[in-house]
């Protein structure tokens, strides 16, 4: 998780409800006041710009809000930041998270699956503790990785 502390990226974040589904009593919400939500390709979601401004990652969680100590998944699309409509080409995505105040990450290693249309699905995530989590999307093209990152508070 040490890399998670590098930057907070352009955390214009919003965790958007998209995929429906129920959730436990415990609810998650963005820890920081969401910056102006940037429209994404599907027009209904919001996302985060990567640190160097190359990509715009739009994502949803299922369930939404993120439950505490239960598996959830993320569906994301990596867009070209200039257009915010066209999926970025030739990119890979990795997803990780940790609690910066506690110096630990998740106890699981999520798996990212590539879907059609430039979309990705990360499965197997578990935020096992209430509190503030940093959620990071590492977008890699060739040998260059940029991170889009946000904070999520779970109670």
């Amino acid at each position: 998780m040490s890399t998670l502390t590098r930057t907070l990226g352009a955390a214009s974040v919003a965790i958007v409800v998209l995929l429906g589904g129920g959730c436990a009593a415990e609810r998650a919400r963005p820890a920081t006041a969401p910056a102006p939500a940037a429209p994404a390709a599907d027009g209904g979601s919001s996302g985060i710009e990567s640190g160097e401004g190359t990509y715009f990652v739009s994502f949803t969680t299922r369930p939404d809000p993120i439950p505490v100590n239960a598996e959830f998944e993320i569906e994301a699309v990596v867009l070209d930041a200039k257009t915010r409509t066209r999926p970025a080409e030739d990119v890979d995505l990795a997803v990780d998270a940790g609690m910066p105040e506690h110096g630990h990450g998740m106890n699981v290693v999520p798996r990212v699956e590539r879907l059609a249309g430039g979309r990705f699905r990360a499965v197997g995530l578990v935020f096992h503790m209430p509190g503030r989590w940093e959620l990071a999307f590492d977008v890699t093209r060739g040998a260059v990785t940029e991170r889009a990152q946000t904070l999520v508070e779970i109670d």
Binding site: N69, E71, G103, V109, R111, G124, H128
Partner: protein, 395 residues
């Protein structure tokens, strides 16, 4: 006038008698957090064990749980260390089977809720857990082959086993011995699934927060209520002791020093994860009744990590007062000692280079520590049915 004053006073008392005053001791956020801890749900389904809910399997499992012939010396049963009279643990600091081990005996009560079993999480189901002590050289010191011989050789056990799993084969065949061991584990698991906490005074109190029934709100003392407020607030115990079972089911380094002194040498979760992934009885193994299911899938997200070195599973706090001592080597004798350890961090080891920093000193007064202990004691419910706490007359 005096009579009128008395009447008004009585009216005021009656007004408070609806429980509002007690409810108002807590903020909305505190109440929302408190509700996350109650009621106790049913134990989660385990499709890897097809007899998990079969009463005949539970009866056989109960018989075997109290069966000393499963040990190499004929003197140790599961119930020897998981004694119903001592909170389904043994009351000792360090477990003693055939010989002394190096960890405290975890209670089997509520084990059915565990995502990972043992202090190091080296099993992922109740039935896979139940197999290991039987063949552990320091615990029961037996073997799968000896277990298979017992099942094949005792007519009553054989009949009960055959009705559930088909007749046992040649105990000398290692594959058959594995199969019998798995099925013995599944029968014991069917029994252990019944060993769950029953509603405690705390649960009545939580109901009272909703319906404001004064009797329910009085189920826990004012001192315990203060402790509860600390638990979900200033003391932040819920960081790891989550949900109705008061555990995240995960692994942490509490910094408690080993009984032997010196630096810790137990790799705990790091080796537990490795053992689990290699365990032939895990959820994706050939003895699982659901090798492609959710539990098997969960294993695919697990990894062996150096930062897990020395991390032990968070125990449930349900009925915690009934099973001292505490911590993974029973280092702390009383709940008061545990609360004091977490509050002051006195004597705690510094975090290692991968160490998480969840635990920091909490400024609690002696009175507040006592309040927390009172709350923890309010998590004690009635014991499971007496019929579950003894060996049945037949399997």
């Amino acid at each position: 006038m005096a009579a009128l004053a008395l009447l008004l006073s009585a009216a005021a008392a009656a007004a408070l008698g609806d429980g509002s005053a007690i409810v108002l001791e807590f903020t909305e956020r505190e109440i929302a957090r408190i509700r996350q801890h109650s009621p106790i749900p049913p134990a989660p389904d385990d499709p890897t064990n097809r007899v998990q809910s079969d009463p005949a399997a539970a009866r056989l499992g109960q018989f075997l749980f109290f069966e000393t012939r499963l040990s190499s010396n004929g003197r140790i049963a599961c119930a020897t260390c998981h004694d119903p009279r001592t909170g389904w643990s043994d009351g000792k600091r360090i477990a003693e089977g055939i010989r002394a081990l190096d960890r405290h005996t975890l209670s089997v009560r509520n084990a059915a809720f565990s995502r990972w079993l043992f202090w190091d999480g080296r099993a992922d189901s109740l039935w896979a857990q139940a197999i290991q002590p039987i063949e552990h050289p320091l615990e029961m010191g037996s073997s799968r082959a000896a277990t298979a011989r017992l099942v094949a050789g005792d007519l009553r056990i054989r009949d009960a086993y055959s009705a559930l799993f088909g007749p046992p084969g040649d105990p000398g065949d290692p594959r058959e011995a594995d199969r019998v061991a798995a099925n013995v584990g599944k029968a014991i698991a069917a029994y252990e699934r019944l060993l769950v906490s029953r509603p405690a005074p705390f649960d009545a109190f939580v109901e009272g927060l909703s319906d404001r029934d004064p009797a329910k709100l009085a189920a826990i003392s004012p001192q315990a209520r203060r402790g509860l407020k600390l638990f979900v607030g200033k003391a932040d115990c819920r960081r790891c002791h989550l949900g109705p079972l008061f555990t995240d089911g995960e692994f942490h380094d509490t910094g408690v020093r080993p009984l032997s002194g010196g630096t810790p040498s137990d790799p705990a979760r790091m080796s537990g994860a490795e053992a689990l992934l290699e365990d032939p009885f895990n959820a994706r193994g050939r003895f699982s009744d659901d090798p492609g299911g959710e539990r098997a899938r969960r294993l695919s997200f697990l990894s062996v990590r150096s930062e897990d070195w020395g991390r032990f599973k968070t125990p449930s706090l349900r009925d915690v007062a009934s099973s001292p001592p505490y911590m993974h080597q029973g280092q702390l004798a009383t709940l008061r000692d545990v609360v004091r350890f977490y509050a002051t961090r006195e004597g705690a080891l510094p975090p290692g280079h991968h160490g998480e920093t969840v635990l920091r000193p909490i400024p609690l007064s002696d009175i507040e520590m006592d309040d927390l202990v009172a709350f923890l004691e309010s998590l004690t419910g009635p014991e499971p049915e007496p019929s579950l706490a003894r060996r049945p007359s037949s399997p």
